[in-house]
């Protein structure tokens, strides 16, 4: 809290004032927390009846199966969208105008569409099973976003690298494969991982097309009358796991980014963290 230009380093009086503000804010926040807790107790969310289902092995297994299905969808979607992203980026960097044009239209269209529209289209119109529908939708969207990330990564490698490689007599594929992509990949890694967080979060959309994933398993338990509709307990169990998984992946991205800032190998590349320069629809990469 020292390197900010917004306020002076507090003196004794300011420190006392900040302490008072801080205490007041803490009291307000704690008050809200206490109110929520009161509501929880008041509506009988902590009764044994509502928490009993989580003791049963069958229900634990069901939750784990749901979690497994979520991770399965994520794994498929991650691998396929990386592949599609690479393909589309290659298309956008192609020397042939038609290929470039097709790839551009493809990328721009799928970035502008809500993922859910694609998932529903595949699910309803093409009458596909939930898992392939979910994976297809996620792949089309994240693949298109990743294509832009790859392209900007390759373009941001220092121009001298490309020129030197061509001067050595390399062909375009060699320049790409041996010189540009390895450097770009290293610099893009944090951005790629943050995009994978988006994919992981979006696997929960499978819930809406009745894919039997984590949230779906939770819904099944929550709507069980025998346990007094344990809706809040289910949310209290599911959210920390879901949010925790996403946080772990996000932290991995930050950790990689931090590590790279120290490394000399990435110096040639200065990747803008996929922040929107253009205002095209769907330019919001990092977020949903």
């Amino acid at each position: 809290m020292t390197d900010t230009a917004l306020y002076d380093i507090p003196g004794p009086r300011a420190r006392r004032r900040h302490l008072v503000y801080g205490l007041a804010a803490t009291v307000v926040i704690l008050g809200i927390v206490a109110w929520v807790l009161y509501l929880l107790f008041d509506t009988h969310q902590f009764t044994a009846e509502k928490w009993r289902p989580f003791v049963y092995e069958g229900i634990q297994e069901m939750l784990l199966r749901g979690l497994g299905n979520t991770l399965k969808a994520f794994a498929y979607a991650a691998v396929l969208s990386l592949a599609l992203g690479g393909l589309l980026a290659a298309g956008r960097l192609s020397d042939h105008r038609i290929v470039r044009w097709i790839a551009t239209v493809f990328v721009e269209f799928f970035r502008a569409m809500p993922v859910l529209v694609m998932i529903f289209f595949v699910f309803v119109a093409l009458k596909v099973q939930p898992l392939p529908a979910l994976v297809t939708g996620l792949t089309l969207y994240n693949g298109s976003v990743l294509a832009e990330v790859f392209r900007s990564g390759v373009n941001s490698v220092d121009r001298g690298q490309r020129e030197a490689a061509y001067a050595l007599g390399m062909r375009k594929t060699q320049v790409m494969g041996h010189v540009l992509v390895p450097q770009a990949l290293r610099a893009m890694l944090p951005t790629i991982i943050s995009q994978l967080v988006v994919a992981l979060k979006d696997t929960s959309l499978g819930f809406l097309i009745t894919y039997e994933e984590f949230l779906h398993a939770g819904k099944l338990i929550a709507s069980n009358l025998d346990y007094g509709l344990p809706f809040i307990p289910v949310v209290m169990i599911i959210s920390p796991i879901y949010i925790g998984m996403c946080m772990l992946l996000s932290w991995l991205a930050t950790w990689v980014a931090k590590r790279q800032r120290r490394s000399l190998k990435t110096e040639a590349v200065e990747v803008a963290p996929a922040e929107p320069g253009t205002l095209l629809p769907g330019a919001g990469q990092i977020h949903p």
Partner: protein, 214 residues
Amino acid sequence: MNVLTDNFSLYGKGLLGTVELTVYASLLALALGFVMASFRVAPVGSLRVFGTVWVTVLRNTPLTLLFFAVLLGLPRFGVVLPFQLFAVLALGCYTSAFICEAVRSGINTVPAGQGEAARSLGMTFGQTLSLVVLPQAFRSVIPPVGSTLIALAKNSAIAGSFSVTELLGTYKPLNELGYSIVWTFVWIAVGYLIVTLSISAIFNVLEKRWGVPR
């Protein structure tokens, strides 16, 4: 082709629902985002912690889970509101985390000399932030906020599955009426393109008018 002409009012209602959701949720997200961003740079420790927790948790929450918790969970507390309002709450809170990060990085782009000059004139933290730093930060956050709001418009599609009237939800009645499902989706896609392109047009105008010249 006649899917659109036959069901113009249905599509219109859906599009209007999406626009309404987007506008209200945007307003909530912008307000909350600005407040959270000022919390995160404030000299008061507990506010900083609160802002950080808010952003970290919401950014890592799947939106479907948030909808699930808000729309189906809050009624268990006896909080009964129209579903559209719940949807606005969920979307707005979720997006506010992204707005907050955009604003905060905008604050960081304002040269330190500006804040120092304001302080040396004797301005308090609130004055420095609201009179000097934020107006300048505003200019550089126009593009990222624009793309965040476009993402918000796209995310509003989730609300349709929780029985809120919006564009994607129109496929259901049309499907039951036996219209060509492919064309139904084509017009839904066109509707979303209209919404997202309008937002990006608005922000392009803002950027031209106020943005930092590059």
